[in-house]
C-alpha cells in the first residue's frame, strides 16, 4: 500500500479555507501533493452531488472545508453546508461509500498550519483506506 498515492479533491470556500491554504503557502509549510483544491464562493454552494461525481471519476478521498461556524462571510452558508452534510452522510453510507473518505472541517483564513495538518492527516487516513477502486469502476458506465 505504501506506493499508493491517493487522489484527494478539496472543496473549499473562497473566504476562509482558500485564504487559509494561501497562508500555508506564504508561510512555506509543506504538505502532501496529492490534494488539489477547487474553489467555491462558500461551502453553502457545494452541491454534494459533486462529491459523488468526484468519487466516480477517481477520487479516493474528499475534503470539504469552510469558515468556522458564525464566521461565514455570508453569515449562514456554512450552517447550511453542515446541515446538508449531516443528511448526506447517511446517503454516503447507503451508496456504499466509507464515510471516512470524506473529511468535513473548518479552516479559517488564519489557520495555515491547520490546513497543512488537515491535508496530511486526511492523506494518511486515505492511504490507510486504500484506493477506492470499486467506485472507480463506475467510470464510463454513464452513471457519472
Amino acid at each position: 500500500m505504501s506506493d499508493f498515492n491517493p487522489r484527494i479533491v478539496a472543496f473549499v470556500c473562497n473566504w476562509c479555507t482558500y485564504a487559509g491554504a494561501d497562508l500555508t503557502g506564504t508561510s512555506r509549510m509543506k504538505y502532501s501533493p496529492q490534494v488539489s483544491i477547487i474553489r467555491f464562493p462558500c461551502t453553502g454552494r457545494i452541491d454534494f452531488m459533486l462529491l459523488l461525481k468526484a468519487f466516480a471519476n477517481g477520487a479516493d478521498g474528499i475534503i470539504v472545508s469552510g469558515c468556522h461556524p458564525n464566521d461565514c462571510h455570508y453569515s449562514s452558508g456554512n450552517f447550511h453546508a453542515r446541515r446538508r452534510w449531516i443528511i448526506f452522510r447517511g446517503l454516503l453510507d447507503f451508496l456504499g461509500i466509507d464515510v471516512r473518505r470524506v473529511q468535513f472541517s473548518w479552516v479559517s483564513a488564519a489557520e495555515g498550519a491547520k490546513w497543512a495538518q488537515l491535508v496530511n492527516s486526511t492523506a494518511e487516513s486515505i492511504r490507510q483506506l486504500g484506493p477506492f477502486s470499486c467506485y472507480h469502476k463506475l467510470r464510463g458506465l454513464g452513471v457519472e
Binding site: Y18, D22, K30, R39, P41, H73, Y74, S75
Partner: protein, 671 residues
C-alpha cells in the same frame, strides 16, 4: 471552438524552483481547446501583461488562464489586462500554482504534475466561463435616519451638508435624546443643552432635512440604494401648521400630576405637554392615556384656550411612504430601571435614584432648578453615596459587559454634587476606574484631588432605610475587605446601560443582526464598525454598544461618510457573480417549480416571487427571481435547488462539474 491562452509564471524562482514550468507550459499546450501556451519570468510585470494583451489580440483568444499566484493576489490585475485587450474580464481565470503548489511541496514530478492538474482544471472552467457585465443598481439619494439623539442629529446634519436629502424619524415628541437630559458633560463640564440645542435648531431649519418627530418606522422593504420606508406619524392631536407653540394649552391643562419622562419621573407634566422648553419641534402633544377628554369624554380646555384653533382631538395616525437609498440606525440606549436590585431597594426607597435622575437634579432646567434635593423630602443631602457597576459586569443580573460610561459620569456626578453642596460628603463605591479617553483620567483625578471625592474600592452588598437614612453596607477591598457602613441621605446607582426596548423589533423590521443584549452588530468588529451585514444600513451611536457622546458623534459622522460615499455615484456597480434563475421560451418559461426553498435559505432576502402572466393577464406560474441588488453570490440557493433551476455566475454547475472532471481525468496531456 474555444481558443484558450495559458500563461505560466515563474514568479522569479518562487514557482520555477519546485515546479518545472516549461513542462507545465508544454503540457498545457496539449490540452484540447488551448490555442496558446507560454511561460514567462514575471507575468504580473508590465511586459508580462503586455504579452497577454498581445496574445489575446493576435491569437484572438476566447479565454485566458494565468498559472501563477493566488487569485486573491492578482486576479484583478490580470482581469484588467484582459479588459484592456478587449476580452471580457470574466473570461480570465487564475491557476494558483504558487500558494497551493510550488510553495507547499518539494521539487518533484508529483509537484509538477499537480501544477498541470491545476492548469487543466482551470482551463476546463474557463471554457465554460461566460462574458459578464458588471451589475448597475440605481441609487435614491435620500437617507433615512432613525433616532433623533445626538448620534442621529450628527448623522443627519453631516449627510444633509453633503447636499443630500435626509428624513429624520424620532419616536418622542422632540429630538434631543438622552443628551438633552444631561446637566453637564465630562470631561469639560460644559452644559449639555448649551452645546446640543443649537444642533437641534439647525436640524429643524436645514433645507435638506425633513423631521418626523413623534413618529416610528412601520416597515422597510427593498435593498441598498432602493429602500421603501413606511413611517407612522403618531397623532399629536394637533395641527402642527396652525400651532405657534405659545404653550397656553400646557398651562391651562387641568391634569398636572403626570410624572415627566424628560425629568426621569422626578418632575410633573400636564396631559398636553412639550417635553422640555427647548424642544424641537416646539409643539405640544396630547398624552391620550392621561387626557381627561379621552378618558371621560369631556374637558377640551386646551381647545378653548388655543388662540389658533390647532387642537385636533379626532386626529389619527398617518402613514408616510418614502423612497430612500440608505438607512442610518441611531436608536440609542436606555438605562436599566425597575426592581432588579432587591438588595439595594432600588425602586423601593425614594432616595435611591439612577444616573439620569441625578442628571435632572443637577440640571438648571430640572425639577429642582439645579439644586441637589433628595426626592423623598426635598432636603439637601449631606452624604451621598454613588454606586458604580450597579448591574453592569454582573452575570447574576444578566449583564456581563461593562457599561463604559458609568465611571466617568459617576466622577462627574460626585464633582457636580460637591460644587453645589460644598460641605457635602460624596463617596463612590467602585470596582475599577475605567477612564480611557482624552482628558478622562485627569478628570477622575480632579474629582479625587480637587473636589475631595472619597473613592472606596468595593461593591455594595446591601442598602436599607433606617430613620430617614439609607444604610449602605459596603467593604473596602484595599483595607483587607473590611466591611463598612455609610449613613447616606441619597444614593445614586450607576445602573447598567442597555439597548432600547424596541431595539429587537426594529432590527427584525430592517433585517440587521444584533447580539444577545439586543445591541446591533457591526459588519466587522474592527474594519467595518459602522456598516451592518445588510448593505445600505449603517449604525451610529449607542444602539451598537454603550458609548459616550464623543464616540457616538464620531461614529455618526463615520456613518454619514459611508452614506455620502454611497450617494456619490448615480449607480452602484457590483461584480456580477450572483445567482440567476433559469428562464426559457414559452410554454416552459422556467424550469423553476416555485418551491421557494431558495428563499428560505437566502441570508439576504434576495429572492423574490415573480408571476409569469399570459397576454390575457392570467397567471401562468410563479417562479423565483433573484434581486441583483441584494444577492451577494454565496450560492447556498444553488446547492439547495431541487430542479437545478437556479445557478450562480462564475461558479455555475457547468463550470464546477467540468473542473472536477478535468482535475481527475488526466488526458494525453499528462507526462
Amino acid at each position: 471552438m474555444a481558443r484558450i491562452g495559458v500563461f505560466v509564471c515563474h514568479c522569479g524562482e518562487n514557482i520555477s524552483a519546485t515546479v518545472d514550468v516549461l513542462k507545465v507550459a508544454a503540457a498545457a499546450a496539449k490540452i484540447p481547446g488551448v490555442a496558446h501556451s507560454v511561460e514567462y519570468k514575471y507575468m504580473c510585470s508590465d511586459p508580462g501583461q503586455q504579452m497577454i494583451k498581445n496574445a489575446i489580440k493576435e491569437k484572438n483568444l476566447t479565454g485566458v488562464v494565468v498559472a501563477a499566484c493566488s487569485p486573491r493576489m492578482h486576479e484583478p490585475t490580470f482581469r484588467r489586462a484582459c479588459a484592456e485587450a478587449g476580452l471580457n474580464p470574466f473570461l480570465c481565470e487564475m491557476a494558483n500554482i504558487r500558494e497551493h503548489c510550488s510553495w507547499v511541496h518539494e521539487k518533484s514530478d508529483a509537484t509538477t504534475n499537480k501544477a498541470i492538474d491545476i492548469v487543466r482544471t482551470l482551463v476546463a472552467k474557463v471554457k465554460k466561463n461566460k462574458a459578464l457585465l458588471p451589475i448597475k443598481v440605481p441609487v435614491t439619494k435620500t437617507a433615512l435616519v432613525i433616532g433623533g439623539g445626538i448620534a442621529g442629529i450628527q448623522a443627519s446634519l453631516d449627510i444633509a451638508n453633503t447636499g443630500h436629502k435626509v428624513i429624520l424619524v424620532e419616536k418622542e415628541p422632540s429630538i434631543g435624546g438622552h443628551m438633552s437630559q444631561l446637566s453637564e458633560t465630562f470631561p469639560t463640564l460644559d452644559c449639555s443643552q448649551c452645546i446640543l440645542t443649537p444642533r437641534m435648531v439647525e436640524v429643524a431649519q436645514h433645507p435638506n432635512i425633513t423631521l418626523h418627530s413623534y413618529s416610528e418606522l412601520e416597515s422597510l422593504d427593498g435593498f441598498i440604494g432602493n429602500f421603501k420606508a413606511r413611517i407612522r406619524k403618531k397623532a399629536r392631536s394637533l395641527d402642527e401648521k396652525l400651532c405657534n407653540g405659545c404653550g397656553l394649552c400646557t398651562l391651562k391643562c387641568p391634569v398636572k400630576k403626570i410624572p415627566s419622562e424628560f425629568d426621569a419621573g422626578l418632575g410633573m407634566r400636564p396631559a398636553i405637554y412639550v417635553p422640555f422648553p427647548q424642544a424641537v419641534p416646539n409643539k405640544p402633544v396630547i398624552d391620550r392615556q392621561n387626557c381627561t377628554y379621552y378618558l371621560k369624554g369631556k374637558c377640551r380646555l386646551c381647545e378653548k384656550v388655543c388662540p389658533t384653533q390647532a387642537i385636533r382631538f379626532d386626529q389619527e395616525d398617518e402613514i408616510i411612504e418614502a423612497d430612500v437609498g440608505a438607512v442610518v440606525l441611531a436608536t440609542g440606549f436606555d438605562i436599566k430601571h425597575g426592581d432588579f436590585f432587591p438588595e439595594y431597594g432600588y425602586g423601593k426607597f425614594k432616595d435611591i435614584i439612577d444616573g439620569l435622575q441625578f442628571e435632572r437634579l443637577a440640571s438648571a432646567s430640572g425639577p429642582t432648578l439645579g439644586e441637589i434635593r433628595r426626592p423623598s423630602d426635598g432636603k439637601i443631602p449631606e452624604t451621598v453615596v454613588f454606586v458604580a457597576c450597579a448591574g453592569s459586569r454582573d452575570p447574576a443580573k444578566g449583564i456581563e459587559y461593562c457599561s463604559k460610561i458609568c465611571c466617568m459620569y459617576t466622577a462627574k456626578h460626585a464633582m457636580l454634587y460637591k460644587h453645589k453642596v460644598h460641605h457635602g460628603r460624596p463617596y463612590v463605591f467602585y470596582m475599577d476606574i475605567r477612564a480611557g479617553g482624552k482628558m478622562y483620567e485627569e478628570f477622575v483625578r480632579r474629582a479625587m484631588e480637587e473636589d475631595g471625592v472619597q473613592y472606596i474600592r468595593g461593591r455594595v452588598s446591601r442598602i436599607y432605610e433606617r430613620e430617614g437614612k439609607l444604610i449602605v453596607k459596603g467593604a473596602d477591598t484595599l483595607l483587607g475587605a473590611r466591611p463598612m457602613e455609610i449613613e447616606a441621605d441619597l444614593v445614586v446607582l450607576a445602573t447598567a446601560s442597555v439597548a432600547n426596548d424596541g431595539a429587537e423589533a426594529l432590527a427584525q423590521k430592517v433585517h440587521v443582526s444584533y447580539d444577545s443584549y439586543y445591541f446591533y452588530s457591526e459588519a466587522h468588529p474592527k474594519l467595518r464598525p459602522v456598516e451592518t451585514n445588510t448593505a445600505g444600513i449603517f449604525l451610529a451611536g449607542a444602539c451598537q454598544a454603550p458609548k459616550d457622546i464623543p464616540e457616538a458623534v464620531a461614529q455618526a459622522s463615520g456613518a454619514a461618510g459611508k452614506v455620502a460615499a454611497l450617494f456619490s455615484q448615480n449607480e452602484l456597480i457590483r461584480e456580477p457573480l450572483i445567482a440567476v434563475v433559469d428562464r426559457q421560451a414559452p410554454p416552459l418559461y422556467s424550469t423553476c417549480v416555485g418551491c421557494f426553498l431558495c428563499q428560505t435559505s437566502c441570508p439576504y432576502q434576495a429572492i423574490e416571487k415573480e408571476e409569469i402572466r399570459g397576454r390575457d393577464g392570467q397567471l401562468i406560474k410563479t417562479v423565483a427571481k433573484v434581486n441583483p441588488g441584494l444577492c451577494q453570490g454565496c450560492g447556498t440557493c444553488v446547492a439547495l435547488c431541487r430542479s437545478k433551476s437556479i445557478d450562480i455566475q462564475g461558479f455555475s454547475h457547468e463550470q464546477v462539474y467540468d473542473e472536477v472532471l478535468a482535475l481527475l481525468n488526466r488526458g494525453e496531456s499528462d507526462v
